[in-house]
């Protein structure tokens, strides 16, 4: 894992001291709320419906046991005993006091964490594949480049007041697990014919009120040019991006309004002026950062664990867990374990302080002290020996963390919605809970198979509904919550934006409507191998429309 150097430590500590002084001045009246608001937002502190909310950055979703324990401690000491893991691989605390936040930030700094650039019109936390450094199918560990981008973008003086926020995602494999094509910049690691590492570059993806799939601007960007090219994109955006209308200020609108070819030309011109300069990635720096992410020393183990196989034969639940929540690892005899934060009837992404402590212990005992947060609001132990899976499962089960639903319909994304969020128009969590309960039966969930259901409580789309195979958007229709269904979205290497299927449904009817969609899929699929999204792409929306609204 990356460790702070002196520069990192100094600047995070300075920021804590600055913020402490800003809070003091706000409480004493030296600063008005108008003056203070941008300062607190620069430190991740929002005001929501019931209280302040602190969003803590988890760079590319990677953290260790000490950091997870600190999050548990903060939840317990300064909050209400839980945290909420988000689609940006961050964590949010929903009830901190303003007066406590300097102390919270100081405690976070002690474990090399902070809340800088988790809000505001700047480059946000760079997100990545939760199986980075572990997946059997990756070209290289994307976190190395995510960390290089983090260092470049942190307090970058030119890019702290962009037209709007800016999100970068990077994936290390062809199988995109980081939704890179719905980010302002999406990077996909690849190799050229000479075997050199580089990136496929997408620009202008995004969700929100104007969802767009990123456009490819480079088939192969050499590794060495990563920062110079990123800087060129940001400069073009910073210069030409709209500042007159916040709803048209993201780079996706610039791509759309300027046209891809012209914008590409602008980027290339800027890149010509920038490259071969100080932003060239020095090889020794890549090597140095690579060392931080060096894989743990894996033992030579058999590909198949006889212990796990025997335990699975005796424990149906373990067999089920293994079939859904284990991901193929690059080292034989190892696996990546997904810890679902989607218990039946629970709030997606929430974990209690006690659960966080348990997960931290598991990471230390069985997982080389590493944890990941997924953009689908789960946690991952990336490096676990197959032979340890039965014990890990047993401990997870004892702590209500062993739901075997990774990638199934109950493993849904949902934003906090109107139960917490000041921007929301409708509630998301109760809808997620009702759907989860409706599809509780394990056999049925597995019959349905891979299905991504994503729920947002407003058009800002924090719940990624546009890219759900089934998406649900909550709106306010004359004071009543109404839920629109979109179908056919996807956030993998074949990214697509879902289509609104028809009129929305009131709260009391939305779960039935989702069930109708699922039943229509089951009735029309070619066989059990045809997934929901494949069936939808073959069938189109007509059978679903007919089932929902009558032929």
């Amino acid at each position: 894992m990356y460790r702070y150097d002196e520069f990192d430590r100094d600047f995070v500590n300075q920021r804590v001291a600055q913020f402490e002084d800003q809070v003091r001045r706000r409480m004493s009246g030296e600063l008005t709320e108008d003056e203070f608001k941008p300062l607190r937002l620069m430190n991740g502190l929002y005001l929501q419906l019931h209280a302040y909310m602190l969003r803590v950055a988890i760079p590319y979703g990677t953290l260790n046991a000490t950091q997870m324990r600190k999050l548990a401690h903060i939840a317990r000491t300064y909050d209400r005993g839980y945290g909420h893991f988000t689609t940006r691989q961050n964590v949010q605390f929903n009830w901190p006091k303003l007066s406590d936040t300097p102390q919270i930030l100081r405690e976070l700094a002690d474990v090399e964490m902070h809340a800088i650039q988790t809000s505001g019109n700047c480059i946000r936390n760079v997100t990545s594949d939760q199986f980075a450094g572990a997946a059997s199918d990756e070209f290289a560990d994307p976190r190395v480049y995510a960390e290089i981008l983090r260092q470049w973008s942190s307090l970058h003086p030119e890019f702290l007041f962009l037209p709007r926020k800016f999100k970068i995602a990077i994936t290390g494999a062809e199988q995109d697990r980081a939704a890179v094509q719905v980010h302002d910049i999406g990077l996909q690691l690849t190799r050229n014919e000479n075997g050199d590492i580089g990136f496929v570059v997408y620009v202008g993806g995004g969700l929100g009120r104007t969802p767009m799939v990123g456009r490819k601007v480079r088939d192969f960007l050499p590794e060495n040019d990563l920062l110079a090219y990123s800087e060129a994109i940001l400069r073009v955006y910073n210069r030409y991006g709209r500042r007159d209308n916040k709803y048209k200020a993201r780079i996706k609108i610039l791509v759309h309004e300027t046209g891809l070819e012209e914008l590409k030309q602008d980027i290339e011109t800027e890149f010509e002026a920038t490259k071969n300069g100080i932003l060239d990635l020095p090889n020794e720096e890549v090597v140095r950062i690579n060392e931080y992410f060096a894989p743990p020393s894996f033992e030579a183990l058999p590909k198949i664990s006889t212990e796990l196989e025997a335990a699975k034969r005796n424990d149906r639940d373990l067999a089920l867990f293994s079939s859904r929540n284990l991901h193929a690892h690059k080292a034989e005899g190892y696996t990546s374990v997904t810890i679902s934060l989607k218990p039946i009837g629970g709030a997606p992404g929430d974990a209690t302080a006690d659960q966080m402590d348990v997960i931290a212990d598991l990471a230390e005992r069985f997982g080389h002290d590493e944890l990941r947060v997924t953009h689908e609001q789960n946690l991952v132990l990336p490096h676990v020996k197959l032979q340890d899976v039965p014990t890990v499962f047993k401990i997870l089960k004892a702590n209500d963390l062993a739901d075997s639903n990774a990638g199934l319909i109950t493993d849904m994304i949902a934003c906090p919605g109107l139960d917490y969020c000041a921007l929301a128009n409708a509630r998301s969590i109760p809808i997620a809970q009702e759907i989860s309960k409706r599809f509780e039966e394990v056999k049925r969930q597995n019959e349905i198979g891979d299905l991504k259901l994503k729920i947002s409580g407003c058009i800002n789309a924090c719940g990624h509904h546009h890219v759900g195979h089934i998406g649900i958007l909550g709106v306010d229709r004359k004071g009543e919550e109404l839920y629109q269904i979109t179908l056919g979205g996807s956030a993998d290497q074949n990214t697509s934006i879902g289509k609104i299927i028809g009129r929305g449904f009131p709260e009391a009817e939305i779960t039935d409507a989702v069930e109708t969609v699922v039943d229509t899929y089951l009735a029309n699929r070619l066989d059990e191998e045809e997934s929901f999204i494949d069936a939808y792409r073959r069938l189109g929306d007509q059978p679903f429309k007919d089932a929902l609204y009558g032929a």
Partner: protein, 101 residues
């Protein structure tokens, strides 16, 4: 019918304006505003609350009668007055339960 609400600066807690310009933690104790004169007075109190760094983001909300009880008209304000609908152990609803226990 209206009342004035805000969040308390020090902890962000939801509060409503009381009859004498004080800020109360439960909507049941809020000042119900039925005429322009009271509203003008209330808005002055609200501004004073902001000026004193006690509250932030003051605004008026609509109330309605439901089964003989006054409640905020919008769902958002009802959730602010109660707490998350999915976590009855959090927010005003939980504190109210503790107070009456």
């Amino acid at each position: 019918m209206k009342t004035i609400t805000a969040n308390r600066l020090v902890d962000g807690d939801v509060v409503w304006l009381g009859h004498n310009g004080e800020w109360v933690e439960y909507i049941e104790a809020a000042w119900i505003l039925n005429n322009d004169e009271d509203m003008t007075k209330a808005l002055d109190f609200a501004k004073a609350g902001e000026d004193k760094q006690y509250v932030l983001g003051t605004y008026a909300i609509d109330l309605e009668l439901q089964d003989g009880h006054l409640r905020p008209k919008s769902l958002k304000e009802r959730i602010r007055a109660q707490g998350p609908t999915t976590r009855l152990d959090l927010g005003k609803q939980a504190e109210r339960h503790l107070r009456s226990a």
